[in-house]
């Protein structure tokens, strides 16, 4: 899947924080030689491969997205972190100055997540329900970026509620919308149109892209909060 796509790829991915070598993307490893999910390491473990078929941000970068709010030193609230595959790359990008607050509801994946977080000092695990942000409001400070990757029916509402409570004005809100988990019967484009209407009340959409060869019927939105 990725191989054919890499051959067709004509432009360089445009995100500064990510290294691009021979059709693959890499992040600077926070802990040299550390491996999280069996990915490839190069340059003596200094760079860690970001597998786009396993990570939606990785897929969006491969699709040539220009803006990604996540920068060195930014604080990220990560909803639906699962076992920390993508979250570990986000923690690579933000570096030691930044922080990634990882939230997931399933106990099975959080068990793996805790082990990843124990090694990486800028990752913070929490077993909580993202649709009730007031239960973890006590712990986290105001953040620069909210990223959501939750395959649930009320995806949009979860993002809006979390951004209300945690995101600073003019902060970035990023979401991977899965059309199939919102409504299976409707056509994906119709679902995206409806969800965009909801977003436009709270955010300005900077960029959007389909994650086509990597994920089916997914749309990746990068947005900014309207104060």
């Amino acid at each position: 899947m990725g191989k054919k796509f890499r051959k067709k790829l004509k432009f360089k991915p445009r995100i500064k924080e990510v290294e691009f070598i021979r059709g693959r993307i890499y992040t600077h490893n926070l802990i040299k030689g550390n491996r999280v999910y069996g990915e490839k390491l190069i340059e003596n473990g200094r760079l860690r491969e970001w597998v786009p078929s396993r990570s939606k941000i990785g897929a969006a970068i491969m699709k040539g997205i220009k803006n990604l709010g996540i920068k060195k030193g930014s604080k990220v609230l990560y909803l639906g972190a699962a076992s920390g595959t993508t979250a570990s790359h986000v923690s690579d990008i933000v570096g030691k100055e930044g922080a990634v607050f990882c939230i997931d509801i399933a106990y099975r994946v959080v068990r793996d997540l805790v082990l990843v977080c124990e090694k990486r000092k800028n990752m913070f695990p929490l077993l909580a329900d993202a649709s009730h942000p007031e239960t973890y409001k006590a712990f986290f400070p105001i953040v620069d970026v909210v990223y959501e990757d939750v395959a649930s029916k009320n995806q949009a509402e979860i993002l809006i509620r979390n951004c209300d409570l945690f995101l600073k004005p003019n902060g970035w809100a990023i979401i991977a919308v899965k059309a199939r988990s919102i409504d299976v019967t409707k056509k994906p484009q119709q679902v995206f149109n409806e969800i965009e209407k909801k977003f436009k009340k709270h955010f300005t959409i900077i960029e959007k892209t389909k994650l086509e060869p990597f994920e089916k019927d997914h749309m990746f939105y990068v947005m900014k909060k309207i104060n």
Partner: protein
């Protein structure tokens, strides 16, 4: 460390707690205020950086504590039932191979056995080295016979393990879901919990769903293309349904409704109230008619 995290919260309660108690309280603590900002303003914490340093260790402890509290018997039951299904597959595979090797040695004897336990016991006891008296069977050499014996010994051990597993599931089910165990039987009950995910979810299902649980493929084929709906899923394993002959569909429907009542009593009375025997008797009387 804890103080910087929940100093604000502790002040509100006007009491000091141990770590475990504090975690328990914090689990149900919800707020819309920005506590971190307040902690810094009130000079409980120096700045955000030191706060985050504390938070990291705290959240790992807190999450570990929460994970530990996620325990419930049905999560174990789900794992054990899947283990049982796996071990069934494994024993069948091993039996196939053992009987295949044994049939080259003694084809007539191999045909006599229908039970894998009996056959492997026979091989372990009686198949010894030496010349083969059988007219058709091949002469296997020393090492090959040894391998056959060892193989069937392994199979025998695995069968014993499977029986132990079954017994343990029975024990845990009797304690955890007594009514469901009486009405459906321990293994079928555990399988139902497995395919629902947990006893909580099973007890929220309508009886029609319980009836076709395990026949999802047929059910969705029916919903999509209008083929005939399935009459029974996992419920088919129940002896009453198996003995029903042409009325399998009807008995499955009645059994499903009784199972529904049983697992609801189990879930909401937490296994204290026992009405299973009455339900089963009701069901048997209905089936007789």
């Amino acid at each position: 460390m804890l103080k910087s995290i929940y100093g604000e919260f502790e002040k509100k309660l006007k009491k000091k707690y141990s770590q475990k108690e504090a975690f328990e309280k914090l689990e149900n603590y919800s707020t819309n205020k920005n506590v971190v900002k307040k902690l810094i303003e009130n000079k409980i914490v120096k700045d955000e950086k030191t706060y985050l340093k504390d938070l990291h260790d705290f959240l790992i402890d807190f999450t570990k504590f929460k994970l530990k509290r996620e325990y419930s018997p049905d999560k174990i039951i789900v794992q054990l039932v899947q283990g049982l299904e796996d071990s069934e597959k494994i024993t069948n595979l091993m039996y196939e191979r053992v009987s295949e090797i044994f049939s080259t040695y003694d084809p007539e004897k191999e045909k006599e056995f229908t039970n894998m336990k009996q056959m492997s016991e026979y091989i372990v006891k009686n198949v010894k080295q030496g010349k083969n008296k059988n007219k058709m069977g091949w002469d296997l050499n020393k090492d090959e016979i040894l391998i056959l014996r060892k193989f069937s010994l392994e199979l025998l051990n695995y069968i014993k393990f499977k029986e132990e597993l079954e017994k343990y599931i029975e024990k845990i089910m009797k304690k955890f879901a007594p009514n469901l165990t009486i009405v459906a039987g321990p293994i079928l009950g555990a399988r139902l919990i497995n395919s629902a995910g947990s006893l909580e979810r099973l007890s929220k299902f309508p009886s029609s769903t319980i009836q076709v649980l395990g026949a999802e493929k047929a059910l969705f084929r029916h919903l999509r293309s209008g083929a005939k709906p399935p009459k029974h899923g996992l419920v088919l394993q129940h002896p009453l349904v198996l003995a029903a002959g042409k009325n399998k569909g009807r008995v499955a429907r009645m059994l499903a409704s009784k199972i529904m009542i049983a697992c609801r009593t189990d879930y909401f009375s937490k296994g204290k109230k026992i009405i299973g025997e009455k339900l089963l008797e009701d069901l048997k009387n209905k089936v007789k008619k």
